[in-house]
């Protein structure tokens, strides 16, 4: 890797996904990578947090504690985000959008703790993009019935290829946007710590604030927002 870059480095810049364990499942080689480990740590953290909050919510001795207030603040904020962009028709999607936002936020911030962010692996973001794609298309067929297919031939029949590619490109552009942003941050931080390791003292913290906190939060917000816009476009307004 350093040879390809052609730079004499104190330490090779290191941001690749590493395989930790090689399994053989049904004749197919499957690797357990650093992404899986990060995902497991993040999911465990979120589940433990949820269980603790749930136990706090259950013992009702009259007044809410600090943790309950924080949890209610988070839930209200996420619900507000959904209802501000989708309105009433967004109610069935509150759970998914809230989960998605918290997961993406913690994933993007996990670079701060020395984990390799799971969202810097295209497998993870493509999976999330495909979930969005299936929600959008399910709603499209459920509400527009046959119109879901005839809409592809509007306004002119020969525009079908463009409309079709437009539908297919949605998950790809969604997932590449998130992947590219998080990977760019990871690569730049790895280059700084690898190539400038002798003088990388305190000042990379400023870059962490931008690449991990600011960019990560914005991208989590944008991913959820675009998912909500795409889903909301396919659901007709009632009344």
């Amino acid at each position: 890797m350093g040879g390809v870059l052609g730079i004499v480095a104190a330490k090779d810049p290191d941001f690749m996904i590493k395989s930790l364990l090689k399994l053989n499942v049904l004749g197919q080689e499957v690797y357990l990578t650093t992404t899986h480990v990060s995902l497991l740590i993040i999911c465990t953290f979120l589940i433990v947090f949820a269980v603790i909050v749930r136990s706090k919510l259950k013992d009702t001795d009259g007044k809410p504690g600090a943790l309950q207030n924080v949890a209610e603040l988070i839930v209200e904020m996420l619900d507000g985000m959904v209802s501000s962009s989708m309105g009433k028709k967004g109610n069935p999607y509150r759970n998914y959008m809230g989960t998605l936002f918290i997961f993406l936020l913690i994933s993007n911030l996990s670079g701060l703790l020395g984990l390799r962010p799971p969202t810097a692996d295209y497998g993870v973001t493509l999976g999330l993009g495909l979930i969005t794609f299936f929600i959008v298309q399910t709603n499209n067929i459920r509400y527009n019935k046959l119109g879901a297919f005839t809409d592809l031939f509007k306004p002119l029949p020969f525009l079908f290829p463009i409309n079709f590619i437009g539908e297919i490109a949605t998950p790809i552009s969604l997932s590449l946007r998130l992947f590219g942003n998080v990977l760019a941050g990871t690569v730049i931080m790895a280059l700084i710590y690898g190539l400038l390791s002798s003088i990388a003292f305190l000042w990379p913290g400023v870059l962490h604030v931008y690449f991990d906190i600011f960019s990560g939060a914005i991208q989590a917000y944008v991913f959820c927002m675009l998912t909500m816009v795409f889903v909301g476009n396919k659901i007709p307004d009632k009344e």
Binding site: V4, L5, R177, G180, N181, A184, V187, I218, Y221
Partner: protein, 88 residues
Amino acid sequence: MSNITNEGLVLAFSALGAGIAMIAGLGPGIGQGRAAAAGAEAVGRNPGARGDITATMLLGQAVAETTGLYSLVIALILIFANPLVGKL
């Protein structure tokens, strides 16, 4: 000049290609700048709607950033996961 290997040539031009691909960063830069300018103008006209304007501006900027990120992905593929070396 005769000691240039095939692989070296491919790697050299891949590095050049990665650099050229990043010229695409110009477009998102101009687009995001225009979006920020329009956002600042809107806040100046209606300071009460600051929160909404900022959210809309950031959303638009993140979407405009996508083309730049495509070029970044291409540049990274050319440098770190070069598909052309395998074809030699």
